[in-house]
Symmetry: C2
Subunit: 113 residues, 2 copies
DNA sequence: AACATGTATGCAAATATTCGCAGATGTTAT
DNA sequence: ATAACATCTGCGAATATTTGCATACATGTT
């Protein structure tokens, strides 16, 4: 298989893994801190079991790392540049007409940096 | 809705639009040239009707622009930085253990820049 | 040991995406 | 007008993703 096709396929997979609102937020929450599953679930206001599923997926693709502390499982980004790369996608998003208003984008850019 | 959630949702949508091997390759092919539907379809070796569907999606999200020239529809990137941003995702991809080998990644990085 | 706590996993239903095919639309040539 | 060409659209079947729920697992506490 020509390398272009292989790389495009792999990239598409990564994009798919990231392409979920919960997972994007979760990655951004991990930008600076490590956090346990329950904490993340509460932060995003989703059931713990769903958070676990998201984390399992990110773990499978080695985008996050797990550290056990007693009965808590603490997660952190395997490569913090990941969060940076995602936020830089906001620029692409901003360059298009969008349903979001400029203040929202600005506010989040502050929060996620 | 808190702005973080709105932005994450919007970002996830964009990620989803991009998260397809054909669409990633097609965007990279448009990096420097504008091209018509048939040309792109032949390049990626997929049926023209499928290429049309991909392009309709990218068009709906205003990631590409259409210019008509006689009976041909020529497409180009609405924001060429899009291609750059995608390729910079290769760095994330490279930082993880992957099924791809380093030469493939290197070769594509050359091709797509 | 029994129990509580924090996470993970398996499975099925709901939902969304992908893809091929058949037909519609618009353009140029004869 | 008819034909040929380039592309688009609608729709259904195959496939993949998301989600909730029930339950299993591991660790710490009593």
């Amino acid at each position: 298989m020509p390398s272009r096709i292989a790389v495009a396929k792999e990239l598409a997979e990564i994009f798919k893994v990231i392409a979920h609102p919960d997972r994007i937020r979760l990655i951004e929450e991990l930008r600076n801190n490590e956090m346990d599953v329950g904490g993340l679930a509460k932060l995003l206001d989703i059931p713990q079991t769903r958070m676990s599923q998201h984390l399992a997926m990110l773990r499978a693709y080695r985008l996050v790392e797990e550290r056990r502390d007693g009965r808590r499982h603490c997660y952190s980004l395997a490569h913090p540049e990941l969060a940076t790369w995602i936020t830089s996608g906001i620029d692409v998003l901003e360059a298009r007409p969008t349903s979001l208003n400029a203040e929202d984008i600005h506010e989040v850019r502050e929060l996620w940096s």
